[in-house]
Protein backbone atom coordinates (compact mmCIF):
# COMPACT_ATOMS: atom_id res chain seq x y z
CA UNK A 1 0.00 0.00 0.00
CA UNK A 2 1.10 3.53 -0.68
CA UNK A 3 2.56 5.55 2.15
CA UNK A 4 1.79 3.25 5.08
CA UNK A 5 4.67 4.35 7.26
CA UNK A 6 2.95 4.62 10.63
CA UNK A 7 1.58 1.56 12.39
CA UNK A 8 -1.01 1.72 15.17
CA UNK A 9 0.13 1.60 18.79
CA UNK A 10 -1.95 -1.04 20.55
CA UNK A 11 -3.31 -0.66 24.05
CA UNK A 12 -5.58 -2.53 26.44
CA UNK A 13 -8.72 -1.20 24.76
CA UNK A 14 -7.69 -1.67 21.15
CA UNK A 15 -5.97 -5.07 21.34
CA UNK A 16 -9.17 -7.13 20.65
CA UNK A 17 -9.82 -5.09 17.50
CA UNK A 18 -6.37 -5.71 16.05
CA UNK A 19 -6.38 -9.40 17.11
CA UNK A 20 -9.67 -9.88 15.22
CA UNK A 21 -8.37 -7.92 12.22
CA UNK A 22 -5.44 -10.31 12.11
CA UNK A 23 -8.05 -13.05 11.63
CA UNK A 24 -9.92 -11.10 8.96
CA UNK A 25 -12.81 -9.92 11.17
CA UNK A 26 -13.86 -6.27 11.62
CA UNK A 27 -15.08 -5.55 15.15
CA UNK A 28 -17.05 -2.55 16.34
CA UNK A 29 -18.46 -1.77 19.78
CA UNK A 30 -22.03 -1.87 21.08
CA UNK A 31 -23.39 -0.29 24.23
CA UNK A 32 -24.83 -2.95 26.58
CA UNK A 33 -27.42 -0.50 27.96
CA UNK A 34 -28.71 1.20 24.82
CA UNK A 35 -27.80 -1.31 22.12
CA UNK A 36 -26.27 1.54 20.08
CA UNK A 37 -23.06 1.03 18.14
CA UNK A 38 -19.99 3.22 18.41
CA UNK A 39 -16.86 3.83 16.39
CA UNK A 40 -14.02 4.41 17.23
CA UNK A 41 -13.40 1.93 20.05
CA UNK A 42 -13.23 3.38 23.55
CA UNK A 43 -13.05 2.02 27.09
CA UNK A 44 -16.49 3.50 27.78
CA UNK A 45 -19.80 3.79 25.96
CA UNK A 46 -20.44 7.27 24.58
CA UNK A 47 -24.16 6.45 24.84
CA UNK A 48 -24.02 5.48 28.56
CA UNK A 49 -20.71 6.72 29.96
CA UNK A 50 -20.56 4.33 32.93
CA UNK A 51 -21.10 1.25 30.74
CA UNK A 52 -18.32 -0.84 29.24
CA UNK A 53 -18.96 -1.47 25.54
CA UNK A 54 -19.02 -5.01 24.14
CA UNK A 55 -17.31 -6.10 20.94
CA UNK A 56 -19.42 -7.34 18.05
CA UNK A 57 -18.36 -8.44 14.58
CA UNK A 58 -19.57 -6.07 11.88
CA UNK A 59 -20.86 -7.42 8.57
CA UNK A 60 -17.93 -5.75 6.89
CA UNK A 61 -20.25 -4.24 4.29
CA UNK A 62 -20.92 -0.55 3.84
CA UNK A 63 -21.08 2.31 1.39
CA UNK A 64 -18.87 5.21 0.42
CA UNK A 65 -19.77 8.37 2.33
CA UNK A 66 -17.02 10.73 1.14
CA UNK A 67 -13.54 10.45 -0.28
CA UNK A 68 -10.42 12.37 -1.25
CA UNK A 69 -7.75 11.12 -3.60
CA UNK A 70 -4.33 12.25 -2.36
CA UNK A 71 -2.35 13.26 -5.44
CA UNK A 72 0.28 15.39 -3.77
CA UNK A 73 1.49 16.19 -0.28
CA UNK A 74 2.13 12.85 1.33
CA UNK A 75 2.68 10.38 -1.45
CA UNK A 76 5.98 8.82 -2.29
CA UNK A 77 4.26 6.85 -5.00
CA UNK A 78 0.87 6.55 -6.63
CA UNK A 79 -2.18 8.55 -5.53
CA UNK A 80 -4.28 6.87 -2.84
CA UNK A 81 -7.87 7.30 -1.73
CA UNK A 82 -8.79 8.29 1.81
CA UNK A 83 -12.45 7.79 2.58
CA UNK A 84 -15.27 7.75 5.06
CA UNK A 85 -17.26 4.52 4.84
CA UNK A 86 -20.70 4.12 6.38
CA UNK A 87 -20.97 0.56 7.69
CA UNK A 88 -24.27 -1.34 7.53
CA UNK A 89 -24.44 -0.99 11.30
CA UNK A 90 -24.61 2.79 10.84
CA UNK A 91 -21.24 4.01 12.11
CA UNK A 92 -18.77 5.82 9.86
CA UNK A 93 -15.15 4.65 9.73
CA UNK A 94 -12.14 6.30 8.12
CA UNK A 95 -10.17 4.04 5.79
CA UNK A 96 -8.77 3.62 2.29
CA UNK A 97 -10.57 2.58 -0.87
CA UNK A 98 -8.81 0.22 -3.26
CA UNK A 99 -9.84 -1.36 -6.53
CA UNK A 100 -11.98 1.56 -7.73
CA UNK A 101 -10.85 3.99 -10.44
CA UNK A 102 -10.97 7.63 -9.35
CA UNK A 103 -13.63 8.45 -11.95
CA UNK A 104 -15.88 5.71 -10.53
CA UNK A 105 -15.76 6.91 -6.91
CA UNK A 106 -19.18 8.20 -5.91
CA UNK A 107 -21.24 8.55 -2.76
CA UNK A 108 -23.23 5.40 -2.00
CA UNK A 109 -20.82 3.02 -3.77
CA UNK A 110 -21.17 -0.45 -2.16
CA UNK A 111 -18.00 -1.57 -0.37
CA UNK A 112 -16.71 -4.52 1.65
CA UNK A 113 -13.81 -4.74 4.06
CA UNK A 114 -10.55 -6.45 3.14
CA UNK A 115 -7.33 -6.69 5.11
CA UNK A 116 -3.68 -5.97 4.35
CA UNK A 117 -1.22 -7.90 6.49
CA UNK A 118 1.51 -5.39 7.40
CA UNK A 119 3.38 -7.51 9.96
CA UNK A 120 2.72 -10.34 12.43
CA UNK A 121 0.53 -8.10 14.62
CA UNK A 122 -1.19 -5.64 12.29
CA UNK A 123 -3.59 -6.39 9.47
CA UNK A 124 -5.00 -3.08 8.30
CA UNK A 125 -8.63 -2.99 7.15
CA UNK A 126 -9.34 -1.27 3.83
CA UNK A 127 -12.46 -1.26 1.64
CA UNK A 128 -13.05 -2.58 -1.88
CA UNK A 129 -16.04 -3.31 -4.09
CA UNK A 130 -17.82 -6.40 -2.64
CA UNK A 131 -17.34 -8.34 -5.87
CA UNK A 132 -13.59 -7.94 -5.62
CA UNK A 133 -13.10 -11.41 -4.11
CA UNK A 134 -9.83 -12.62 -2.66
CA UNK A 135 -8.62 -9.16 -1.88
CA UNK A 136 -7.58 -9.85 1.68
CA UNK A 137 -4.08 -10.99 2.40
CA UNK A 138 -4.59 -11.20 6.16
Amino acid sequence: MTAITTLPTLDETSAPFWEAAREGRFLIQRCPETGLYQWYPRAHSIHAPHATPEWVEASGRGELLSHSVVHRGNTRGDPYTCALVRLEEGVAVFSRIEGVAEADLRSGLPLAVAFHRLDDTISLPIFRPPSDAGASDA
Partner: protein, 410 residues
Protein backbone atom coordinates in the same frame (compact mmCIF):
# COMPACT_ATOMS: atom_id res chain seq x y z
CA UNK B 1 -25.02 5.80 14.14
CA UNK B 2 -23.21 8.63 12.44
CA UNK B 3 -21.96 11.60 14.34
CA UNK B 4 -24.92 13.91 14.92
CA UNK B 5 -25.22 17.50 13.83
CA UNK B 6 -23.54 20.12 15.99
CA UNK B 7 -26.36 22.33 17.24
CA UNK B 8 -27.06 24.18 20.46
CA UNK B 9 -28.98 21.61 22.54
CA UNK B 10 -31.88 22.98 24.62
CA UNK B 11 -31.30 22.29 28.29
CA UNK B 12 -27.61 21.55 27.89
CA UNK B 13 -24.69 23.80 28.65
CA UNK B 14 -23.94 24.43 24.98
CA UNK B 15 -27.35 25.88 24.17
CA UNK B 16 -27.61 29.49 23.11
CA UNK B 17 -27.58 30.53 26.71
CA UNK B 18 -26.00 33.84 27.40
CA UNK B 19 -26.12 34.87 31.00
CA UNK B 20 -26.49 38.42 32.17
CA UNK B 21 -22.83 38.29 33.25
CA UNK B 22 -21.70 37.40 29.74
CA UNK B 23 -23.83 40.14 28.19
CA UNK B 24 -22.37 42.61 30.67
CA UNK B 25 -18.90 41.65 29.39
CA UNK B 26 -19.85 43.01 25.97
CA UNK B 27 -17.91 46.18 25.24
CA UNK B 28 -16.06 46.12 28.59
CA UNK B 29 -12.67 45.59 26.96
CA UNK B 30 -10.92 46.84 23.86
CA UNK B 31 -8.14 46.03 21.45
CA UNK B 32 -5.87 49.07 21.70
CA UNK B 33 -2.90 47.94 19.66
CA UNK B 34 -2.46 45.75 16.60
CA UNK B 35 0.48 44.80 14.42
CA UNK B 36 1.01 42.41 11.54
CA UNK B 37 4.53 41.69 10.39
CA UNK B 38 4.94 42.59 6.72
CA UNK B 39 7.23 39.57 6.38
CA UNK B 40 6.16 36.62 4.30
CA UNK B 41 9.62 35.04 4.24
CA UNK B 42 11.80 35.12 7.36
CA UNK B 43 14.67 32.78 6.56
CA UNK B 44 16.58 31.57 9.65
CA UNK B 45 14.58 33.89 11.91
CA UNK B 46 13.45 32.04 15.05
CA UNK B 47 9.67 32.45 15.52
CA UNK B 48 10.26 34.00 18.97
CA UNK B 49 12.30 36.78 17.34
CA UNK B 50 9.41 37.40 14.96
CA UNK B 51 6.97 37.42 17.89
CA UNK B 52 9.10 40.06 19.58
CA UNK B 53 8.87 42.25 16.46
CA UNK B 54 5.08 41.82 16.57
CA UNK B 55 4.71 42.43 20.31
CA UNK B 56 6.76 45.62 20.20
CA UNK B 57 4.87 46.70 17.09
CA UNK B 58 1.49 46.23 18.79
CA UNK B 59 2.65 47.98 21.99
CA UNK B 60 4.05 50.92 19.97
CA UNK B 61 0.72 51.12 18.16
CA UNK B 62 -1.04 51.33 21.55
CA UNK B 63 1.45 53.77 23.06
CA UNK B 64 2.37 51.22 25.75
CA UNK B 65 5.58 49.45 26.70
CA UNK B 66 6.54 46.01 27.94
CA UNK B 67 6.47 47.41 31.50
CA UNK B 68 2.70 47.85 31.17
CA UNK B 69 2.09 44.20 30.24
CA UNK B 70 0.86 41.78 32.91
CA UNK B 71 -0.83 39.23 30.65
CA UNK B 72 0.55 37.09 27.81
CA UNK B 73 -1.41 34.82 25.47
CA UNK B 74 0.35 32.64 22.94
CA UNK B 75 0.08 29.16 21.45
CA UNK B 76 3.59 28.54 20.16
CA UNK B 77 4.16 24.84 20.72
CA UNK B 78 3.18 23.55 17.31
CA UNK B 79 5.43 22.83 14.35
CA UNK B 80 7.42 25.87 13.15
CA UNK B 81 6.25 27.99 16.10
CA UNK B 82 9.44 27.51 18.07
CA UNK B 83 8.11 26.48 21.47
CA UNK B 84 7.79 23.21 23.34
CA UNK B 85 5.06 22.02 25.66
CA UNK B 86 5.51 24.99 28.03
CA UNK B 87 5.71 27.46 25.19
CA UNK B 88 4.18 30.46 26.93
CA UNK B 89 6.85 30.29 29.63
CA UNK B 90 9.60 30.03 27.04
CA UNK B 91 8.15 33.03 25.23
CA UNK B 92 7.81 35.12 28.40
CA UNK B 93 11.42 34.38 29.24
CA UNK B 94 12.56 35.26 25.72
CA UNK B 95 10.63 38.55 25.83
CA UNK B 96 11.95 39.29 29.31
CA UNK B 97 8.68 39.62 31.27
CA UNK B 98 7.06 37.71 34.12
CA UNK B 99 3.33 37.85 33.34
CA UNK B 100 0.80 37.03 36.07
CA UNK B 101 -1.95 36.13 33.58
CA UNK B 102 -1.15 33.64 30.82
CA UNK B 103 -3.13 31.54 28.37
CA UNK B 104 -1.53 29.06 25.99
CA UNK B 105 -4.69 27.13 25.13
CA UNK B 106 -4.06 25.64 21.70
CA UNK B 107 -7.20 24.84 19.72
CA UNK B 108 -5.49 25.37 16.36
CA UNK B 109 -5.85 28.36 14.08
CA UNK B 110 -8.56 30.10 16.11
CA UNK B 111 -6.59 29.92 19.38
CA UNK B 112 -5.98 33.68 19.38
CA UNK B 113 -9.68 34.50 19.07
CA UNK B 114 -10.41 32.18 22.00
CA UNK B 115 -7.58 33.80 23.94
CA UNK B 116 -8.97 37.28 23.22
CA UNK B 117 -12.36 36.26 24.60
CA UNK B 118 -10.85 34.79 27.73
CA UNK B 119 -8.55 37.81 28.13
CA UNK B 120 -11.63 40.03 28.07
CA UNK B 121 -13.06 38.09 31.00
CA UNK B 122 -9.73 38.27 32.84
CA UNK B 123 -9.46 42.04 32.30
CA UNK B 124 -13.08 42.65 33.30
CA UNK B 125 -12.63 40.73 36.55
CA UNK B 126 -9.28 42.31 37.39
CA UNK B 127 -7.14 39.22 36.86
CA UNK B 128 -5.18 41.16 34.26
CA UNK B 129 -4.88 44.76 33.08
CA UNK B 130 -2.89 44.82 29.84
CA UNK B 131 -2.79 41.59 27.86
CA UNK B 132 -0.66 40.87 24.79
CA UNK B 133 -1.84 38.18 22.37
CA UNK B 134 0.95 37.09 20.08
CA UNK B 135 1.65 34.63 17.28
CA UNK B 136 4.40 33.85 14.80
CA UNK B 137 5.55 30.84 12.82
CA UNK B 138 8.23 30.22 10.22
CA UNK B 139 7.23 27.11 8.30
CA UNK B 140 9.18 28.05 5.17
CA UNK B 141 12.54 27.30 6.71
CA UNK B 142 11.79 25.48 10.00
CA UNK B 143 14.34 22.65 10.18
CA UNK B 144 12.78 20.33 12.78
CA UNK B 145 10.31 17.64 11.79
CA UNK B 146 7.26 16.86 13.88
CA UNK B 147 5.53 13.83 12.39
CA UNK B 148 2.40 14.17 14.51
CA UNK B 149 1.73 17.70 13.29
CA UNK B 150 -0.46 16.65 10.43
CA UNK B 151 -3.28 15.95 11.22
CA UNK B 152 -2.67 16.83 14.84
CA UNK B 153 -3.14 13.44 16.45
CA UNK B 154 -0.97 10.48 17.43
CA UNK B 155 -1.15 6.95 16.00
CA UNK B 156 -2.12 5.77 19.49
CA UNK B 157 -5.47 5.86 21.23
CA UNK B 158 -8.21 7.29 18.96
CA UNK B 159 -5.73 8.10 16.18
CA UNK B 160 -4.51 4.50 15.79
CA UNK B 161 -7.58 3.79 13.64
CA UNK B 162 -6.85 6.64 11.21
CA UNK B 163 -3.21 7.77 11.08
CA UNK B 164 -1.94 4.52 9.46
CA UNK B 165 -4.01 5.41 6.37
CA UNK B 166 -1.91 8.59 5.99
CA UNK B 167 -4.64 11.20 5.75
CA UNK B 168 -3.25 14.62 4.91
CA UNK B 169 -4.60 17.87 6.25
CA UNK B 170 -5.81 18.68 2.76
CA UNK B 171 -7.44 15.29 2.16
CA UNK B 172 -9.56 15.78 5.27
CA UNK B 173 -10.74 19.15 3.93
CA UNK B 174 -11.30 17.22 0.70
CA UNK B 175 -13.68 14.86 2.55
CA UNK B 176 -15.70 17.88 3.69
CA UNK B 177 -15.71 19.46 0.22
CA UNK B 178 -16.67 16.23 -1.57
CA UNK B 179 -19.53 15.55 0.82
CA UNK B 180 -20.74 19.15 0.52
CA UNK B 181 -20.93 18.60 -3.25
CA UNK B 182 -22.84 15.34 -2.80
CA UNK B 183 -25.28 16.65 -0.20
CA UNK B 184 -25.94 20.13 -1.52
CA UNK B 185 -24.92 20.20 -5.18
CA UNK B 186 -21.97 22.51 -4.58
CA UNK B 187 -19.66 22.76 -7.61
CA UNK B 188 -15.89 23.09 -8.07
CA UNK B 189 -16.60 26.43 -9.77
CA UNK B 190 -18.35 27.73 -6.66
CA UNK B 191 -15.42 26.68 -4.47
CA UNK B 192 -13.03 28.35 -6.90
CA UNK B 193 -14.96 31.64 -6.68
CA UNK B 194 -13.84 31.97 -3.05
CA UNK B 195 -10.18 31.97 -4.13
CA UNK B 196 -10.91 34.37 -7.00
CA UNK B 197 -12.69 36.89 -4.73
CA UNK B 198 -10.01 36.90 -2.05
CA UNK B 199 -7.31 37.28 -4.71
CA UNK B 200 -9.12 40.39 -5.97
CA UNK B 201 -8.84 41.75 -2.44
CA UNK B 202 -5.18 40.74 -2.14
CA UNK B 203 -4.37 42.66 -5.32
CA UNK B 204 -4.90 45.88 -3.34
CA UNK B 205 -2.82 44.76 -0.33
CA UNK B 206 0.90 45.48 -0.85
CA UNK B 207 1.75 43.00 1.93
CA UNK B 208 -0.14 40.08 0.37
CA UNK B 209 1.85 37.07 -0.77
CA UNK B 210 -0.03 36.61 -4.06
CA UNK B 211 -1.56 39.63 -5.82
CA UNK B 212 -1.98 38.66 -9.49
CA UNK B 213 -5.69 38.25 -10.29
CA UNK B 214 -6.90 34.73 -11.07
CA UNK B 215 -10.00 33.26 -12.70
CA UNK B 216 -12.21 30.30 -11.85
CA UNK B 217 -10.60 28.55 -14.81
CA UNK B 218 -7.14 29.15 -13.32
CA UNK B 219 -8.21 27.48 -10.07
CA UNK B 220 -9.69 24.46 -11.85
CA UNK B 221 -6.62 24.13 -14.09
CA UNK B 222 -4.18 24.16 -11.17
CA UNK B 223 -2.83 20.76 -10.06
CA UNK B 224 -5.08 18.53 -7.99
CA UNK B 225 -3.62 18.20 -4.49
CA UNK B 226 -6.24 16.13 -2.69
CA UNK B 227 -9.51 15.87 -4.59
CA UNK B 228 -11.60 17.87 -5.04
CA UNK B 229 -9.16 20.58 -3.91
CA UNK B 230 -6.71 22.07 -6.41
CA UNK B 231 -3.56 23.96 -5.58
CA UNK B 232 -5.39 27.29 -5.85
CA UNK B 233 -8.10 26.01 -3.49
CA UNK B 234 -5.33 25.92 -0.85
CA UNK B 235 -3.82 28.71 1.25
CA UNK B 236 -0.35 30.07 0.75
CA UNK B 237 2.42 28.93 3.09
CA UNK B 238 4.28 31.89 4.51
CA UNK B 239 6.36 32.84 7.49
CA UNK B 240 4.74 35.60 9.51
CA UNK B 241 3.23 36.82 12.72
CA UNK B 242 1.08 39.36 14.47
CA UNK B 243 0.15 40.66 17.90
CA UNK B 244 -2.65 42.48 19.70
CA UNK B 245 -2.90 44.47 22.93
CA UNK B 246 -6.09 44.39 25.01
CA UNK B 247 -7.12 46.37 28.06
CA UNK B 248 -10.19 47.71 29.82
CA UNK B 249 -12.63 50.12 28.17
CA UNK B 250 -11.68 52.73 30.77
CA UNK B 251 -7.94 52.51 30.20
CA UNK B 252 -8.46 52.34 26.43
CA UNK B 253 -9.94 55.86 26.47
CA UNK B 254 -6.57 57.38 27.40
CA UNK B 255 -4.47 55.54 24.84
CA UNK B 256 -3.15 56.50 21.43
CA UNK B 257 -5.53 54.73 19.04
CA UNK B 258 -9.26 54.57 18.63
CA UNK B 259 -10.30 51.59 20.77
CA UNK B 260 -11.95 48.60 19.10
CA UNK B 261 -14.31 46.98 21.59
CA UNK B 262 -14.96 43.27 22.00
CA UNK B 263 -18.74 43.15 21.75
CA UNK B 264 -19.25 39.43 21.32
CA UNK B 265 -17.30 36.20 21.77
CA UNK B 266 -17.94 32.49 21.57
CA UNK B 267 -15.87 29.34 21.20
CA UNK B 268 -16.38 25.59 21.06
CA UNK B 269 -14.48 22.38 20.34
CA UNK B 270 -15.96 19.16 18.96
CA UNK B 271 -13.82 16.50 17.31
CA UNK B 272 -10.45 15.57 15.86
CA UNK B 273 -11.02 12.16 14.23
CA UNK B 274 -12.39 12.03 10.69
CA UNK B 275 -14.84 9.29 11.68
CA UNK B 276 -16.59 11.81 13.93
CA UNK B 277 -17.38 14.35 11.19
CA UNK B 278 -21.09 15.18 11.53
CA UNK B 279 -23.33 13.81 8.81
CA UNK B 280 -24.57 17.28 7.78
CA UNK B 281 -21.06 18.85 7.96
CA UNK B 282 -22.01 21.16 10.83
CA UNK B 283 -18.99 22.41 12.74
CA UNK B 284 -18.33 23.96 16.19
CA UNK B 285 -18.97 27.36 14.57
CA UNK B 286 -22.64 26.44 14.99
CA UNK B 287 -21.98 26.85 18.74
CA UNK B 288 -19.43 29.68 18.78
CA UNK B 289 -21.39 31.92 16.40
CA UNK B 290 -24.73 32.03 18.25
CA UNK B 291 -22.93 32.67 21.55
CA UNK B 292 -20.98 35.58 20.05
CA UNK B 293 -24.08 37.13 18.47
CA UNK B 294 -26.07 36.69 21.69
CA UNK B 295 -23.37 38.34 23.81
CA UNK B 296 -23.24 41.28 21.39
CA UNK B 297 -27.03 41.43 21.06
CA UNK B 298 -26.63 41.27 17.29
CA UNK B 299 -27.47 39.11 14.29
CA UNK B 300 -25.51 38.34 11.09
CA UNK B 301 -27.33 41.25 9.40
CA UNK B 302 -25.44 43.67 11.69
CA UNK B 303 -22.00 42.73 10.35
CA UNK B 304 -20.37 45.35 8.09
CA UNK B 305 -17.17 43.45 7.34
CA UNK B 306 -16.00 39.89 8.05
CA UNK B 307 -12.70 38.09 8.32
CA UNK B 308 -13.35 34.36 8.11
CA UNK B 309 -10.55 31.80 8.31
CA UNK B 310 -9.77 30.50 4.81
CA UNK B 311 -7.23 27.70 4.90
CA UNK B 312 -9.00 26.19 1.89
CA UNK B 313 -11.90 27.38 -0.26
CA UNK B 314 -14.36 25.08 1.57
CA UNK B 315 -13.30 26.54 4.95
CA UNK B 316 -15.16 29.87 4.94
CA UNK B 317 -18.11 28.30 3.12
CA UNK B 318 -19.00 26.01 6.03
CA UNK B 319 -18.48 28.91 8.45
CA UNK B 320 -20.96 31.07 6.48
CA UNK B 321 -23.58 28.36 7.03
CA UNK B 322 -22.81 27.71 10.69
CA UNK B 323 -22.71 31.43 11.52
CA UNK B 324 -26.07 32.01 9.85
CA UNK B 325 -25.02 34.21 6.92
CA UNK B 326 -26.76 31.65 4.70
CA UNK B 327 -28.69 28.43 5.22
CA UNK B 328 -27.22 24.93 5.53
CA UNK B 329 -25.95 23.86 2.12
CA UNK B 330 -26.43 27.30 0.56
CA UNK B 331 -22.85 28.59 0.76
CA UNK B 332 -22.01 27.56 -2.81
CA UNK B 333 -24.66 29.82 -4.31
CA UNK B 334 -23.83 32.51 -1.71
CA UNK B 335 -20.16 32.80 -2.70
CA UNK B 336 -20.87 32.37 -6.43
CA UNK B 337 -23.21 35.39 -6.26
CA UNK B 338 -20.24 37.55 -5.24
CA UNK B 339 -21.53 38.31 -1.75
CA UNK B 340 -18.02 38.13 -0.24
CA UNK B 341 -16.64 40.80 -2.57
CA UNK B 342 -15.46 44.04 -0.99
CA UNK B 343 -16.57 45.82 -4.16
CA UNK B 344 -20.29 45.22 -4.32
CA UNK B 345 -20.87 42.23 -2.04
CA UNK B 346 -23.26 42.34 0.90
CA UNK B 347 -20.67 40.76 3.24
CA UNK B 348 -17.18 42.07 2.39
CA UNK B 349 -14.96 39.25 3.59
CA UNK B 350 -11.22 38.73 3.93
CA UNK B 351 -10.42 42.24 2.78
CA UNK B 352 -6.67 41.61 3.22
CA UNK B 353 -6.69 38.65 0.83
CA UNK B 354 -6.98 36.08 3.62
CA UNK B 355 -4.97 32.92 3.96
CA UNK B 356 -5.62 32.00 0.35
CA UNK B 357 -3.64 35.00 -0.91
CA UNK B 358 -2.12 37.17 1.83
CA UNK B 359 -0.47 35.00 4.48
CA UNK B 360 -0.80 31.68 6.28
CA UNK B 361 2.01 30.67 8.63
CA UNK B 362 -0.18 27.92 10.12
CA UNK B 363 -2.57 29.43 12.68
CA UNK B 364 -3.79 32.65 11.08
CA UNK B 365 -6.70 33.37 13.44
CA UNK B 366 -4.86 36.36 14.87
CA UNK B 367 -4.87 38.01 11.45
CA UNK B 368 -8.68 37.88 11.35
CA UNK B 369 -8.65 40.04 14.48
CA UNK B 370 -5.89 42.36 13.23
CA UNK B 371 -7.60 43.04 9.89
CA UNK B 372 -10.91 43.57 11.72
CA UNK B 373 -9.24 46.21 13.89
CA UNK B 374 -7.75 47.91 10.82
CA UNK B 375 -11.11 47.94 9.03
CA UNK B 376 -12.85 49.51 12.03
CA UNK B 377 -10.11 52.11 12.47
CA UNK B 378 -10.04 52.86 8.75
CA UNK B 379 -6.36 52.05 8.27
CA UNK B 380 -6.44 48.81 6.28
CA UNK B 381 -3.32 48.15 4.18
CA UNK B 382 -5.42 47.23 1.16
CA UNK B 383 -9.14 47.46 0.51
CA UNK B 384 -10.94 49.61 3.08
CA UNK B 385 -14.66 49.09 3.62
CA UNK B 386 -16.03 52.61 4.14
CA UNK B 387 -17.56 53.47 7.51
CA UNK B 388 -17.41 49.94 8.90
CA UNK B 389 -18.66 49.90 12.51
CA UNK B 390 -19.19 46.19 13.24
CA UNK B 391 -16.68 43.52 12.28
CA UNK B 392 -16.75 39.75 12.66
CA UNK B 393 -13.55 37.73 13.11
CA UNK B 394 -14.03 34.00 12.90
CA UNK B 395 -11.58 31.14 12.96
CA UNK B 396 -11.43 27.41 13.13
CA UNK B 397 -8.78 24.99 14.28
CA UNK B 398 -7.49 21.79 12.72
CA UNK B 399 -10.05 20.40 10.30
CA UNK B 400 -13.17 22.16 11.66
CA UNK B 401 -12.21 20.66 15.05
CA UNK B 402 -12.72 23.92 16.94
CA UNK B 403 -14.19 27.37 16.31
CA UNK B 404 -14.01 30.82 17.84
CA UNK B 405 -15.93 33.93 16.89
CA UNK B 406 -15.44 37.55 17.89
CA UNK B 407 -17.61 40.57 17.11
CA UNK B 408 -15.80 43.90 17.28
CA UNK B 409 -17.22 47.42 17.33
CA UNK B 410 -16.08 51.03 17.42
Amino acid sequence: MLAGAIVPVPGSRNRERTTRAVKELSGKTAIVGAYESPRRDAPRVHPFALQMECILGALDDAGLTLKDVDGLCAASGDWAEGGGTMDVIELAEYIGIQPTYVNSTDVGGCSYILQAGQAAAAIATGLAEVVVISYAACPRWWPLSTPSFDPFVLPAGPGQYEIPYAPTLISTYGLFARRHMDLYGTTPEQLAQVAVTFREHAAANPQARLRKPITVEDVLASPMIASPLHRLDCCVVTDGGGALVMTSRERARDLKRRPVHLAGYGAAVARTQNSQIPDDLSTPAALSGPRAFAMAGMTPADIDVAQIYDAFTITPMLALEDLGFCGRGESGAFVAAGKLSATGGSLPTNTDGGGLSSNHPGKRGIFTLIESVRQLRGDAPGIQVPDAEVALAHGLGGTFCSAATAILTV
